[in-house]
Symmetry: C2
Subunit: 252 residues, 2 copies
């Protein structure tokens, strides 16, 4: 058996999320079906760096799987590209050490949240960004970032349904960029992210930018370690992209 690592991109708008669910169209099930076709009906389990929710996109999701086939990476990539639907794309496939693990070996992730800030709703971005046509105070948001960066217990910033016990994570970077008149992007880099964490952080940052949440209240909410301490709404899934998964010491 050879272990393969693949980097994949997907438009999340047509999926009930990454992870297999009975009778639902998911990214994982489409890939496992494609692998099964390539392996004469044998089921091949796929493991990802983590799941993404319904409507959430990926440009650099990482998966691994084991296969008895010995195929050069690029041919494997082409074979999977042609056997998966057009909303999933294989960026690369390569053979790796048999102990590589797409989830357990991650050292960090990068997410991007896209906001369509133009006054008029852009129908072409309806599945790809959050329409937020209100004026924002960027300087206030930069100050909020300094509160959030670093190592914290992020209980306040994750879904109450999070199963993970340890909610301490480190945010290395939050970068805000006015891409053009229509688009505003927030990029997050950290050693790990809790369930809904990026969407809740984005909701809070936009509230700060809009003057609905003071820096003081943001700090208090963080310190409270309680999801109830934050009133901000969770930003919608369509603006969120998993950009990169890291397996090395990325600029720690």
């Amino acid at each position: 058996m050879t272990r393969y690592k693949a980097i994949i991109a997907y438009d999340g708008s047509g999926f009930f999320g990454y992870q297999v669910q009975p009778e639902k169209r998911t990214v994982q099930s489409e890939i496992e079906q494609a692998l099964q076709k390539m392996h004469k009906g044998d089921f091949i389990r796929v493991t990802a760096s983590g799941r993404t929710d319904a409507g959430v996109h990926a440009k650099g999701q990482v998966i691994h799987f084991d296969s008895p086939l010995e195929i050069p990476g690029d041919s494997f990539r082409m074979a999977l590209e042609t056997r998966t639907p057009r909303d999933i794309s294989f960026r690369s496939v390569k053979a790796v050490d048999s102990d590589f693990h797409a989830r357990f070996d991650t050292t960090g992730k990068e997410y991007r949240y896209l906001i369509q800030c133009g006054k008029l709703f852009d129908p072409f971005m309806r599945h790809f960004a959050w329409h937020f046509p209100y004026p924002i105070d960027l300087q206030k948001m930069e100050e909020a970032v300094t509160i959030l960066l670093g190592e914290h217990d992020f209980t306040t910033f994750c879904s109450a349904r999070t199963e993970m016990e340890n909610k301490v994570r480190t945010l290395y970077q939050i970068e805000m960029e006015q891409v053009n008149d229509e688009l505003f992007a927030i990029t997050y880099r950290g050693d790990g992210f809790l369930y809904n964490m990026v969407r809740i952080l984005t909701g809070a940052l936009m509230d700060v930018g809009q003057g609905k949440l003071s820096l003081d209240d943001l700090k208090k909410a963080l310190d409270a370690k309680n999801r109830e301490a934050l009133r901000s709404k969770t930003a919608p899934p369509e603006g969120l992209y998993l950009m990169n998964v890291f397996y090395d010491e990325f600029g720690k």
Copy 2:
């Protein structure tokens, strides 16, 4: 009755084209339904600058309709924006002279054709560009443009199903732009376009760029005034955008 002119944008991927067809989801029928709701069930006919095919997009389609309602343009815009699905967007609505006609008064149009030229297929662009990952000779294509510009009988470059008798049109401008590593755009401006004309022109230009069609053969095909004289395939609908409709002497 007041005549209103509206500029609309739509993502064509979910429609069977612009024009009403029985039992099909079309842009026109969605707008007429929205107007009907606003007019207590009275049917309001909408007239566009022209139709667009299934899968073709618009960023600046123009329509007109007559309404007994006297509403400021921006309120009318909001009312229609909220009553139409999210893949149609109203950019502006304004009252105009009662003899304004969205189709008969056009002096020209601008179309844009988007090509995803990156080697790897981009799943996010699958409804929004033609994936054409082959090397192209831009200089050859620029020479092809000089053959096509100006007034010609474009019988060779329209669908054999075109009903229009007079196939003489003037192309003012064909602009090619490498937007970034992933995107190549061709913008066409002319006094009018025949059925499938932009898609057939694009197919021919890309054939020239790929070395499949010589400039000589392109010239001969144009002169032949016969659809059969051109072997190039029609570029797919998903790359095509109706960008602007002109009602004045636009740079003639």
